[in-house]
Each structure stands twice: as C-alpha cells, then as structure tokens.
C-alpha cells in the first residue's frame, strides 16, 4: 500500500491505497469527491481535470502516490455553501452546459487559465479548453462563459450583469 497525505480543497487528508490507484480513483472512492469524472481514463477527454499545485492536470494520469505533500483543488473546492464560484455562475448564465458531464473538467481548465491569464484572447481560451471534450455543445457558449468570467473576476461589470441591472 502507498500512504498519501495531501491537501484537498484546503483540507489535509490522508489515505492508504494500492500503488496502482490513480488520483482520480482516490478522489472519488476514498474521499467521495465525485465531481471529477471518469471518462476516457487515458487523458483524452479532460472530464477528470483537477488543479494540482496551480496546474490543470488529468487526474486519471497521475498515481495517488505522486500527490504526497501536494495541493489539489477540485470542482468541490470552488463554490461556498450558498454561492457558486463566478466561473460556475457564468457557465450557468451563459447556458454553457447541456448534459453537464464535461462541466467540472471544463470549469477547472477555465479556472487554471484565468488564474494565470486574467484577460485571455479567444485563441488562448480555445487552447486552454482543447483538452476538454464536450459531445453536447459546440463549445461557443463555454468560450463566452470564460470571457464573462474573466470580466467578473477582473472586477469589470459583466455584460449580462450590466444588462440585468438595466
């Protein structure tokens, strides 16, 4: 067994898992964090995307043992008990998701982008989301949601919010 102690969404957690356990499996089965999804399991679809030490990664492509002493942020770490994170709110407002399976990964990739680039171009957004596959939508509204999120997070009133306020 491999012993792992790591910080998940700000909380220190420990687990003892077989060495072949992936980060994704540990999140879902040991810590009951089922936001990150098991899609392709080989790093193509991005449904399992989480942020490790500030970088977006496919949690299906890391072994739990690699995470000892590191910090993981999952979709569960974004919202507070009564409020969505601005990126989640913008995805909702823009109607960016349909079935929603790709949503957690898509939003974590968006967060990783906006954490380092507060004002990304459309090309940069497309590049940042290229590792997240969605089979329902045409991606356009996700790109809009990231643009809106960028505005909200920069503190400029978002287009939709401004409209709602008349």
């Amino acid at each position: 067994m491999t012993d792992v102690t790591l910080k998940i969404n700000g909380e220190t957690r420990s687990a003892s898992v077989p060495p072949e356990t992936t980060l994704l499996k540990m999140l879902r089965e040991n810590f009951n964090l089922t936001g990150a999804k098991l899609g392709c399991d080989v790093g193509d679809c991005g449904a399992c995307t989480v942020i490790v030490d500030g970088m977006s990664v496919n949690s299906c492509l890391m072994l739990a043992g690699q995470l000892d002493g590191r910090e993981v942020l999952t979709i569960e770490g974004l919202a507070t008990h009564d409020r969505l994170h601005p990126i989640q709110k913008c995805y909702e407002d823009c109607g960016s998701l349909q079935c929603g399976f790709c949503g957690p990964g898509m939003i974590m990739s968006s967060k990783a982008l906006l954490d380092t680039n507060p004002n990304p171009s459309v090309a940069q957004i497309r590049d940042a989301l290229a590792g997240n596959l969605c089979r329902c939508t045409g991606y356009t509204k996700m790109i809009e949601a990231v643009q809106e999120s960028a505005k909200v997070l920069r503190g400029t009133p978002a287009r939709r919010a401004a409209k709602a306020n008349g």
Partner: protein, 297 residues
C-alpha cells in the same frame, strides 16, 4: 491497471539504482504515456514502477559550456514558458505547443516524449535538426549519444532496461543555428502528426548559399529520419524558393510512410514535400532576420 510495486526515486542516481535492482521496471515521469499504456495494454503491466516525477535533479533548463541543457523532467509547458528557449529556439516552443493539450503538457516531459519514441514524436525533429545529444545514466556512469541514434524503431530506443535518459543537450556550436518546426495534424488540439518536420541551416550572407542543412521528418518512417538526399542537394546551393521546393520534392524519396486510418502514404508524401519546403523557408527567414539584427547592432 494491474497491481505493481511502486518506488519513488529521490534523484537520478537513486532512480538508476532502483532500476538496476528491480529490472525490468517501468519509469514514471509525466505519466501521460505510461499510465495510458498500462491501462490500455494490461499485458505491458510491469512488476515495478519507479517514480522519478519528484526527483530533485533533471528539472533545469540551462546554458553552460556544453550548450543548451534540458533536464529530463522538464515539461512541455516549462519549455513553452522558458524565456531562454524562446530567445534561442522558438521552434522548440512551437513543437511543444503542438503536443496534446494543456493538461498533458503540464505533466508530460520532454524526455518522456523522446523515450516513448513513437514515429510521430513531436519533440524529435527539431532536436535532431539541431544535432541534439542525449545523456543516459546507468549504474556504471553516464554515456552520451546523438538523439538520431537514440531512436531505434517504433517505440524502441537505445536505452537498456536499467538506464535512464537524464538530459538533452543542444551543442554549443548550434546555439545560433536557425531552426523551424511545422506539424500537420487533423485538428489543432490533441492530434497526432500526419507528418511533422523541422529544418535548420545557415546562410552564407555574401553568396546567399545554404550550409549545414538538416531536414528532419517524423511520422513517415519507423523513426524520426533525416532527409539525406534533400540535405545533400541543398548544401552549397543558393537559398532560393525554387531550391527549397526542389529539396522538398527530393525529401519524398528519403521517407517510407505507411497508410493508416489517419492518412494514406501518398498524402503523407505530398505533405513531406510541402512541410520540408516550408520549414526550410522558415529557417531561412530566421537566418536573415538575425543577420539584420546583427547589422543594426
């Protein structure tokens, strides 16, 4: 994934000792190729995995008396973010950017990409075009070989089971050599190359002739290959669009592409002619731009 024993190496020497002790073991660096392989081909399941992902050495990008040295654990994202590499070899950044997507570039390492040694390896052509060497560590010390010799066949390298690729070196005499990389895939993101190509050359300013020409192609032979007859044609000839186009046509005779689900061999040959020509033009444009910069100084 099948069960395996798991060891974490603290540095490259420790890793080599673990590999010797537990051979045959598989090395985990970025994991983007290894874990996908272990899941999709259970028959490849190793008894032991040696995790080098947190080894303390092999993470540097530095310029020293040997040239530009890139540690084995440097990721594709770190290459894209390196100001040092941006100043010397923008082609390496272009190549890194075409690999996978952000998540895989954040984990995947340059050495891992080379060690996997698929014929379409996107890190290969530019490095071969710059005569890169690889440093290989074993229990009895280090050895150094040309990257071109490191690729032996599809998914086969010159590495022995207890050896580790620890560093990639672009020799100092090539630090000013213009190089250009292009990849043609079916999509912009997450696509394997139908063909990838890199060229490097020097232009004699007075005579406008080419020398030290390297034309290197991927995904069109069992390994990354140099287009020797095309290189030979261009050596000493004038740097003109006509000669670049002719070199591109000749490069087609230097490759042996296959037909598969992504493209036919004929289509890949057409791509070879175009990409070889365009990478030569790109390298030539860089050569002229750096000359002008030199004159202005």
């Amino acid at each position: 994934m099948r069960a395996f024993e798991y060891f974490t190496a603290t540095d490259s020497r420790h890793a080599v000792a673990l590999l010797a002790e537990h051979a045959p073991a598989r090395v985990l660096a970025g994991g983007t190729d290894l874990l996908a392989d272990l899941k999709s081909s259970p028959s490849h399941a190793p008894k032991t995995v040696v995790d080098i992902s947190r080894a303390s050495d092999m993470r540097k990008i530095e310029l020293n008396e040997r040239g530009l040295c890139i540690g084995a654990l440097v990721t594709h994202t770190e290459i894209m973010d390196s100001k040092l590499i941006a100043g010397l070899f923008p082609a390496l950044i272009d190549a890194a950017h075409t690999i996978g997507a952000v998540q895989t570039r954040n984990l995947g390492t340059l050495a891992g990409n080379l060690v996997t040694a698929v014929p379409s390896v996107d890190s290969g052509p530019t490095l071969v075009a710059l005569d890169a060497q690889v440093v290989i560590a074993g229990v009895n010390g280090n050895r150094q070989i040309a990257l071109a010799e490191f690729f032996v066949g599809p998914r086969k390298t010159a590495l022995q089971p207890d050896e580790l690729l620890v560093e990639i070196v672009i020799p100092k005499e090539n630090l000013d050599k213009p190089a250009h990389f292009l990849k043609f895939g079916l999509r912009k993101g997450q696509a394997l190359a139908l063909v990838n190509a890199a060229s490097s050359l020097r232009i004699d300013a007075k005579k406008n002739t080419c020398r030290d020409v390297r034309i290197v192609l991927g995904a069109v032979a069992p390994t990354v290959v140099r287009a020797h007859s095309a290189e030979k044609f261009l050596e000493g000839r004038a740097a003109t669009p006509e000669n670049f186009a002719e070199a591109g046509r000749r490069a087609v005779d230097d490759v042996r592409p296959i037909s598969d689900m992504r493209a036919s061999a004929e289509y890949r040959k057409d791509l070879v002619a175009v990409l070889a020509k365009r990478t030569l033009e790109g390298a030539c444009a860089l050569a002229r731009a750096s000359k002008q910069k030199g004159v202005r100084k």
